[in-house]
């Protein structure tokens, strides 16, 4: 079932108003009693709606749902396409292309992305970068990092690696050696395994349907 935001909004405001007025009948709107009622009624109604929407949202963002891909998406080609009806970019998941030269089973893919997420937190990436637009602003947004043209345009030749994932893993282990501008990412002493796991995490994240953020990434057609 699709939840409509206008219906929800009107319902929430209406319910709050009616319940407050009903509970406060007999007192004027300038009296403390009126606003005391309004306070807890609005807190309860809004919390109730939030809980309901949370259950729905969590179902829609479970990995393997239409919005958030399964971890095995790392085996697939990933791209972005312009949806000209909604005027926004949406991720497209293509053919099986493998990842680091092989295909990863469901458990393997989970383990890899999980390791990537742990590594991300342990190195505190979000206190320099944004992910899905949240974090710090000292370094580029990573939402679509896997799809960034710079890996192919610059980093592959800089690192001398033959595939994008290998170039990314090498760059992540020695960012101090391969500067892109005055601000260099510090060497966070990632192991080879951690670096590959991070690349898997980034690839998986790039296939999340973000309602079109960031708009026209790399000039998507």
């Amino acid at each position: 079932m699709e939840i409509g935001w206008i219906e929800t909004t009107i319902g929430a405001l209406f319910a709050t108003a009616i319940l407050t007025l009903w509970l406060s009948r007999g007192s004027g709107w300038l009296e403390p009693r009126f606003w005391r009622n309004a306070a807890w009624v609005s807190a309860l109604i809004m919390t109730g709606i939030l809980v309901y929407l949370t259950i729905d949202s969590l179902n829609q963002i479970r990995e393997g749902s239409a919005r958030v891909p399964a971890y095995t998406v790392i085996n697939k080609a990933i791209g972005l396409k312009r949806d000209y009806e909604k005027h926004r970019d949406i991720p497209v998941i293509g053919d099986e292309v493998g990842f680091f030269g092989r295909t990863w089973s469901e458990e393997e893919a989970y383990a890899l992305v999980n390791k990537g997420k742990l590594t991300l937190q342990s190195r505190n990436c979000m206190d320099c970068h944004t992910l899905l637009g949240n974090g710090a602003y000292f370094a580029p947004d990573l939402t679509r990092a896997w799809l960034d043209p710079k890996w192919e345009n610059m980093v592959m030749s800089m690192t001398g690696k033959a595939t994008k994932e290998e170039a990314m893993a090498e760059w992540l282990q020695h960012p101090d050696r391969y500067p892109t501008f005055a601000r260099r990412m510090p060497n966070l002493h990632l192991s080879e395994e951690e670096a590959r796991a991070l690349v898997a995490f980034l690839k998986w994240m790039s296939a999340i349907d973000t309602n079109g953020f960031p708009d026209r990434f790399a000039g998507v057609q």
């Binding site: 403390p32 809004m46 997420k117 342990s122 949240n134 974090g135 947004d141 995490f201 973000t210 309602n211």
Partner: protein, 476 residues
């Protein structure tokens, strides 16, 4: 208010509050120091590179802020609670124990941040070094400690009210709010590889703290402050407080949706989040009206000049920093391009300062009045005005600089450049952006100066030659 206690005598709870305040102020200093280091690294990226990286300075900057603001709030509550309830706080020894435990824990966390900085990608790092999630980077063991300290704090508030067999409207609001505040923190303690779910609940802590529960908490603290500062009748203050709570929760809970536009969550959040968050400034306007009306009624004459000015700054700062700068980027049509640019910290600085730093400074000045010069009908000094003006100018200067940089980024990187790595670099090296970063640092240095002046005033106000005691009018 102070019938139970003779003038100049303090409850034990109030003595404890003073400890909270001084530690809070020290951490405020640490926040500024690491903020300046991080700001300088924008100008000179080689500075401390590989030794004390940007992410570590930034983590210390924002974690020091969270901890000192929480300490300040707890101090504020411990200060006012016995006055509200007319009795000593029940578990005072427990409260003291919690305080020293918390300070020790913060010390350990800071040392680990500075000396270890980061660890391998496994659960051990998350438990003992850092969880690496902006604002709530504290390792899991410290999370548990914070929850325990909050539980003691909650117990003290509730048990004291029960013992006093008396509950005021303000204390009732405070109790429910603190339960929600502590409960929300636990939403930030779960690990998941799924970044969308991770951020979903991360915002329950970050947004539902600053835009719902903290907002109500300072509402209650400022309500108590205004009663003491201006003698505003309880009935009026409490009616306003209820109104503010109704509007803050009525708009802020679903306003959470303004963080659910782009993290993978369903489309209905675009409408819901945009609508409700756009209404969030309304209660902030109400707070300005309330404060200005009350102060105007008394022609700005009060028992405590610096406290009144910080209280007025709180009302306006909250409205401008949170209401105006937040509203500026809260509609999805704008946020699509501004999301995650320097506009966010432009708003973050103005809002945290305007809403929360000012509130705590109000209470600290009120406390110092009672501690040092309860006999003065009017608490005042020459110096506080300098600290006040310079601090307000500095935070506006920093935020203005980041607003210019953020707008440049929005246009150059996002709207025109297609948000790639290269587009990011182009925006970061744009002269408008770079000038913004220079001015941010300059105003940051002013901020440091204003902090030192403030500290000096707090250390000396009411001491020494009692020259400033003009003793004009105002009720006692």
């Amino acid at each position: 208010m102070t019938e139970v206690m003779p003038k100049g005598k303090l409850y034990e709870s109030q003595k404890l509050a003073l400890l909270y305040f001084w530690v809070a102020l020290a951490l405020f200093g640490a926040q500024i120091l690491f903020g300046l280091l991080a700001a300088w690294q924008y100008l000179d990226p080689g500075f401390l590179y590989g030794k004390l990286n940007f992410m570590t300075n930034r983590m210390l900057h924002i974690n020091a802020m969270i901890v000192w603001l929480l300490l300040g709030f707890m101090g504020g509550v411990y200060w006012f609670l016995p006055l509200e309830l007319g009795r000593e706080v029940v578990g005072i020894r427990l409260a003291r124990f919690a305080f020293f435990t918390l300070v020790a824990a913060v010390g350990v966390v800071v040392l680990v941040y500075l000396l270890v900085q980061y660890g391998p990608g496994n659960a051990f790092t998350l438990w003992f070094i850092t969880e690496g999630r902006e604002y709530i980077e504290a390792p899991r063991w410290a999370d548990l400690g914070i929850v325990a300290v909050m539980a003691i704090f909650l117990y003290n508030v509730v048990a004291t009210a029960l013992k006093a067999k008396r509950i005021t409207g303000v204390v009732a609001v405070l109790m429910f709010d603190l339960v929600a505040l502590a409960g929300l923190y636990t939403a930030g303690m779960h690990y998941t590889p799924n970044i969308s779910m991770d951020q979903y609940f991360w915002w329950w802590v970050v947004h539902l703290w600053v835009e719902a529960t903290w907002e109500v908490l300072v509402g209650s603290i400022m309500a108590m402050a205004l009663m003491h500062l201006l003698g505003t009748p309880r009935r009026i203050v409490e009616t306003w407080l209820y109104l503010e709570v109704a509007l803050v929760f009525g708009t802020g809970i679903l306003g959470l949706g303004h963080h659910y536009f782009w993290i993978g969550t369903p489309e209905y959040w675009l409408g819901l989040g945009g609508f409700f968050s756009a209404l969030e400034p309304i209660p902030l306007v109400a707070m300005v009206v309330h404060a200005v009306y009350d102060a105007g009624m008394h022609r700005m004459q009060t028992v405590n000049q610096p406290a009144l000015f910080w209280a007025i700054a709180q009302a306006f700062g909250n409205f401008i920093g949170a209401g105006v700068w937040g509203f500026m980027q809260t509609l999805p049509q704008i946020n699509l391009y501004s999301h995650g640019t320097q506009l966010a910290p432009a708003h973050g600085h103005l809002a945290f300062f305007g809403a929360y730093v000012t509130a705590i400074l109000t209470v600290i000045y009120m406390a110092l009045h009672q501690v040092r010069r309860a006999d003065w009908p009017r608490f005042d000094s020459k110096l506080w005005k300098w600290a006040f003006v310079l601090m307000v100018v500095s935070i506006f200067g920093m935020s203005a600089a980041m607003t210019v940089a953020g707008f440049t980024q929005t246009m150059v990187e996002r709207a025109i450049g297609g948000s790639t790595w290269q587009a990011y670099i182009e925006a970061q090296t744009h002269p408008w952006f770079q000038n913004g970063m220079v001015w941010r640092f300059v105003f940051g240095v002013f901020f440091l100066v204003s902090y030192l002046v403030l500290l000096w005033d707090l250390a000396t106000i009411g001491k020494g030659r009692a020259a400033q005691a003009k003793g004009v009018g105002a009720h006692d």
